[in-house]
């Protein structure tokens, strides 16, 4: 019994699952940093006026 296709499918599920999650973490971090910077700018500008 040599089912190489099943091995490739299982490997693909593992690799894609991990990569998608790492991508999600990167996107979420960038979004939050952007929000934080925008809130910081707004706060400084409000304090000046």
């Amino acid at each position: 019994m040599d089912s190489l296709g099943y091995l490739i499918a299982a490997l693909a599920v593992t690799v894609i699952g991990i990569l998608v999650y790492v991508y999600y973490l990167g996107t979420r971090t960038r979004e939050l940093r952007r929000d934080l910077a925008a809130l910081g700018r707004a706060e400084r500008s409000d304090r000046r006026t």
């Binding site: 099943y6 091995l7 499918a9 299982a10 939050l32 809130l39 707004a42």
Partner: protein, 254 residues
Amino acid sequence: MADTRTIPTPAGLPRTAPASGLIEKLTTILGVLTLAAMAVAAYLALVYAPRDALTGQVQRIFYFHVPAAWVGFLAFFVVFIASIGYLWRRSTAWDAVARSSSEIGLLFTTIMLVTGSIWGKPVWGTWWSWDPKLTTSLILWFIYLGYLMLRAYAPTREQGARYAAVLGIIGFVDVPIVYLATTWWRTLHPEAVITPDGAAMDPRMLLAFLVSLGAFTLLYAYLMLRRVRIERLQERVEALEDEAVYEGRVPGRG
């Protein structure tokens, strides 16, 4: 050396992000180490380890199916400990660890279930069987899916954290049940190949398995560092938004 970049924060929160630069450097180093370990593990699992005489190439799924299960169990154990910590101290740091670890645990439990199903088809002739090991594993998956849903739909963040901490402690009971299912019940699933008496496998297979286990554990640590960082950033953003609403600079939510 501590990073002292100024991050605007409301009163009551530190105005700097101490050690965040150090944590980011550590995360990068851990990321590189994890990538190298995963590459070595892939080589050992797919090339170095001998082909299984009985089931052939498909047996190589073992080298990432079992480590994925291990990381799932480890992640839920961390949720268990962090949940106790949260209920004891009511600290958002414990809550951030529990939330992050539950998400990563669910990811790896999903990988474990899907790769197990793919492995089951050529070996057992079916994608799924309601046998004790598989059923208790699916229950585990639903427990932590419910855990994340509970957090998402709780009226307040604090309530979500409290309810989830209780579920994180009770839900962990299923982890030893999944692990011991092959001992307690008659099941299609093979028993543990590594026991206190030794390992019932070829030494090359054992090496590939142990390296893969180590690589997946490093991956868990790396993902945890990144995920907990997101939780801390989220807290800062929410605190700043609340301060802006409080000071009347922006209209309140809802």
